[in-house]
């Protein structure tokens, strides 16, 4: 019911908006003038919201969404460029794509980009463009992976020449992964140039172990081996350590570290570490302590490091080195974020490096975002100033301007000065509806005689629909998952009962499942309690007994003034109706046991379930009178 209190304001609003009298239909009956007033759209909208949408089916979406964006832009002293990106799904296949095309002094080129297609149901993935490989690093190529028996995830890849390398080799690789409980425990890749990688990781409860061995032949020959282990003690303290060794023809790298992480409180954690690194000509030892403070909107980080640095080529010179780094950040809701980072490095020789930067991000309006970074306190240092502004525009346009050391559209020559530049991009997005994928679940709701049940609400997980006149229901495009198929008892037609037996379904998108639901038709039982005063063996007018008590299982009812009684909403089956003889008037008695067994059918009520009572007849004992 709509609250009456809202009405007056609606009427006042209507009058105010319309003026005195909008006489769409002005008639006169005697001196009574009638008229109509338009109802304000907001009132109509409010009334439509108040109306319950009980009959609306809740069905899986028949469409997926794909967001497609094209950007055109200009980079000062560089080139025009085009950005193209797409994200979403088509027929259940997830699509991620981003590409940058530029046109400049070196002509039109595909600067970077990748397309990824992933089928979460069939577990295959295809990638084209810039792909990353643990064996090859960042490369341009193509890779296809799929799901295989035995929890394996094989992949075949073709890697082209890496950007910025002199090697022009193209290699073919085969990779296989063993996945146990969503965790990749073994990962191996071998390529046609005899490069190979073996990686193993085991994470069980508190222990995390990882070992990687890699041999690479192109573009450079190298071998490396790394080991890592971490153990979390009760209380959250973590001990971890790792070692890394790599060897190239003219160099080597060693790195070993051990650390202890101590969560002192919910807001404060401290980490201590000791690290050793070495190359062919240098070695260093360092000890560091880090503190993390996380207090709601405020976060603070500080790392203090001490150590020595040795260079053998300088006569085994040893230098003490200190390094400190701090960062503080403040976040005010979703709209404002402020971060200050500071880093200082000192060596015994007096060489000092100091770096401070302030970053602020603010959502000025719902469609405007500004991000600024500057050195502190040297705010007018143009080399360190960066700004980024994005303005959303109507029609899914957006304008984005950047100033600072930008990521260049095209690689600049090493001789070209990398100075701050200005970039302006205009984006246009389209939200496209694409066909969805999913399982089909259909069936019927009927009773055990086969009669269809119309208007029964069928629930499948969070979806629901009502059966049609033939008792049929249909869900299309049901996403993968485990579902419970059931009826909604509160909306089952009143003439039926449901035993609550649900159907468990594990659905995959290509399944077509038929699942029927069975209900029981309900019926009623009608009878009468009467006193057969004329002993003709049947009920006659005025023979009904009011307020006779009758039992059926745990139900109890009483007869009306004409002796009639009923039990409603009964499943088909056999019932015993019992007349409560203890509640009968004292001058009548039941004929027989006071119990009647009735079989209730599927479609018709049971009638004439009658209890006959007889007036109690007291024997007349004649006494002999003495003379």
């Amino acid at each position: 019911m709509r609250p009456i209190s809202r009405r007056p304001s609606a009427l006042v609003l209507a009058i105010a908006s319309v003026g005195v009298v909008l006489s769409a239909a002005l008639t006169a009956a005697q001196d009574l003038q009638t008229f109509t007033l338009p109802k304000p759209p907001e009132i109509i909208a409010q009334e439509q919201r108040v109306e319950p949408m009980r009959d609306a089916a809740q069905l899986p979406s028949a469409t997926d969404r794909l967001k497609f964006t094209i950007g055109m832009g200009y980079v000062q002293a560089a080139d025009w460029g085009n950005e193209i990106s797409a994200a979403g799904a088509v027929k259940g296949i997830q699509l991620q794509s981003a590409a940058l095309l530029t046109r400049g002094s070196s002509g039109l080129r595909f600067d970077n980009g990748a397309v990824s297609l992933f089928d979460p149901d069939l577990k295959w993935r295809a990638e084209l463009g810039d792909v990353f490989s643990h064996l090859r690093g960042a490369s341009r190529g193509a890779r296809f992976s799929w799901s295989a028996a035995g929890n394996r995830r094989p992949a075949i890849a073709l890697y082209g020449p890496g950007r910025g390398t002199v090697s022009r080799s193209t290699i073919l690789s085969y990779r296989d992964q063993l996945v146990v409980r969503e965790q990749t425990v073994l990962d191996a890749e071998v390529a046609t140039d005899r490069s190979y990688l073996v990686k193993s990781r085991l994470a069980v409860k508190r222990l995390d172990l990882e070992a990687v061995h890699r041999t690479v032949h192109t573009p450079h020959v190298s071998r490396d081996l790394s080991l890592f282990a971490a153990y979390t003690l009760p209380g959250g303290m973590t001990v971890s350590g790792g070692a890394f060794r790599s060897a190239q023809p003219n160099d080597r790298n060693d790195w070993r570290t051990v650390s202890l992480s101590l969560p002192l409180s919910r807001h404060l954690s401290v980490t201590l570490d000791r690290t050793f690194t070495a190359t062919r000509d240098t070695s260093s030892h360092s000890s560091a302590a880090m503190a993390n403070i996380n207090a709601g909107r405020f976060r603070f980080f500080h790392r203090q490091q001490f150590g020595t640095f040795e260079r053998e080529d300088f006569g085994s010179e040893s230098l003490d080195r200190q390094h400190s780094q701090s960062a503080a950040a403040y976040r005010q809701g979703q709209r404002f974020d402020l971060a200050l980072q500071m880093a200082t490095q000192r060596t015994e020789s007096g060489l000092v490096q100091h770096w401070e930067e302030l970053q602020a991000t603010a959502s000025l309006t719902r469609s405007t975002t500004l991000r600024v970074a500057s050195s502190v306190p040297d705010f007018d240092n143009r080399d360190r100033f960066r700004a980024w502004l994005r303005q959303g525009l109507p029609g899914q346009f957006a304008l984005q301007a950047e100033y600072g050391r930008l990521s260049a559209f095209q690689h600049t020559s090493a001789f070209v000065e990398d100075r701050p530049r200005f970039k302006l991009m205009l984006y246009k997005s389209w939200n496209l509806a694409t066909p969805a994928r999913g399982a089909v679940v259909h069936g019927r709701v009927f009773d055990h005689t086969g009669r269809p049940v119309a208007g029964a609400r069928v629930q499948l997980g969070r979806y629901h629909v009502d059966t049609d006149a033939n008792g049929r229901y249909l869900f299309r495009h049901v996403p993968r998952g485990d579902y419970q198929l059931s009826l909604v008892p509160a909306l089952l037609p009143a003439d039926y009962a449901w035993d609550g037996r649900r159907v468990q379904l594990s659905l995959t998108p290509f399944q077509n499942v038929t699942a029927d639901l069975l209900v029981a038709p309900l019926n009623s039982l009608h009878g009468r309690v009467y006193i057969d005063r004329n002993q003709n063996g049947r009920y006659d007018r005025d023979e009904g007994l009011a307020r006779a008590v009758l039992h059926l299982d745990d139900r109890v009812t009483s007869s009306d003034d004409e002796g009639a009684y009923s039990f409603f909403n009964l499943n088909p089956g056999s019932y015993t109706v019992r007349l409560n003889t203890g509640k009968l008037p004292t001058d009548v008695e039941a004929h027989g046991t006071g119990e009647l067994t009735v079989t209730l059918g599927d479609s018709e009520p049971a009638v004439n379930v009658e209890f006959k009572l007889l007036p109690k007849s007291k024997p007349i004992i004649l006494q002999t009178l003495e003379q």
């Binding site: 009456i4 009405r7 108040v50 119309a454 009143a494 009812t557 409603f568």
Partner: protein
């Protein structure tokens, strides 16, 4: 929004009753049940009744009836389903019909409307009545007594498209302490009517006083006419005098209907009768 109305019905036992019955209190959904259906469609709704925690287990019995009101809305009439031409009673089934409700428990009655395949367009209505019934096992006692039992009704309105919601304002009158609006339902479905009466002093553009008209249902049979009455504000707020009286009504359409006329209002103690 569900509106719950607390009902407190005092049951009084007269002379011979052995144990005075306790007052019965419960809460029930008194919102009218409004369903828009297609011919042949089956739709199910619910009625809920919650017995207060301090009550004894109570037996309730539900039934479907036809109902209508007198034109002034002061009297309700009930009859067996099918009495009215526009009755939906014979298409409605309920479950459960009879049940015992424990203290604090809720009785949920399913109400299913099974529309015939061939049915006229417009509105049909009936009522669900739920009565408290004496426990069959309760001892009858000796002597003569009267016991009042609780009964609650909720309207069931079934609409079959196309539905026409139209009404005419036939009259607008004021007496010393009351005003009334005479209406006629010109459509093919019952109308929920509410609105207000405004009193304008001569020449004024804003009302001196306005009175809300509570929601009334205007049926299409046995009478299409209805009178909505309302008590006027005090003479201090609305003194005697000549007014332009305007009524504006919401009949559930996308527009309001209204009427106005000039009237003399007499208040208690005024020397003359109000002249139409």
């Amino acid at each position: 929004m569900a509106l719950f109305l607390a009902l407190l019905l005092q049951a009084a036992a007269l002379a011979a009753a052995p144990d005075p019955p306790r007052p019965l209190s419960f809460q029930a959904t008194l919102d009218a049940i409004r369903i828009t259906v297609q011919p042949g469609q089956v739709a199910t709704r619910q009625f809920r009744l919650t017995l207060d925690r301090d009550q004894q287990p109570t037996q309730f019995k539900a039934r479907i009836e036809d109902w209508w009101r007198s034109e002034d809305g002061k009297q309700s009439f009930y009859a067996k389903p099918g009495t009215l031409r526009r009755s939906c009673g014979e298409w409605v089934s309920i479950n459960p019909v009879e049940a015992t409700v424990q203290p604090g428990a809720t009785l949920t009655i399913r109400i299913t409307v099974s529309m015939p395949v061939e049915v006229q367009a417009g509105g049909f209505w009936c009522a669900l009545t739920v009565d408290e019934v004496p426990s069959p096992l309760e001892a009858g006692g000796e002597g003569v007594g009267v016991r009042f039992v609780a009964s609650v009704s909720a309207g069931i309105f079934v609409n079959v498209e196309p539905v026409r919601r139209e009404a005419s304002i036939l009259g607008l009158d004021v007496a010393k302490d009351a005003a009334s609006v005479n209406l006629r339902n010109d459509g093919n479905t019952p109308l929920a009517v509410e609105g207000r009466i405004e009193f304008f002093s001569p020449g004024a553009s804003t009302p001196l006083s306005s009175v809300a008209l509570s929601r009334r249902t205007l049926l299409t049979e046995p009478s299409r006419n209805g009178v909505i009455g309302v008590t006027l504000p005090s003479a201090e707020a609305l003194p005697a005098g000549r007014y332009r009286v305007r009524v504006i009504l919401d009949i559930g359409t996308d527009h309001y209907i209204g009427a106005e006329r000039e009237l003399d209002l007499l208040r208690e103690g005024s020397p003359e009768r109000a002249a139409d």
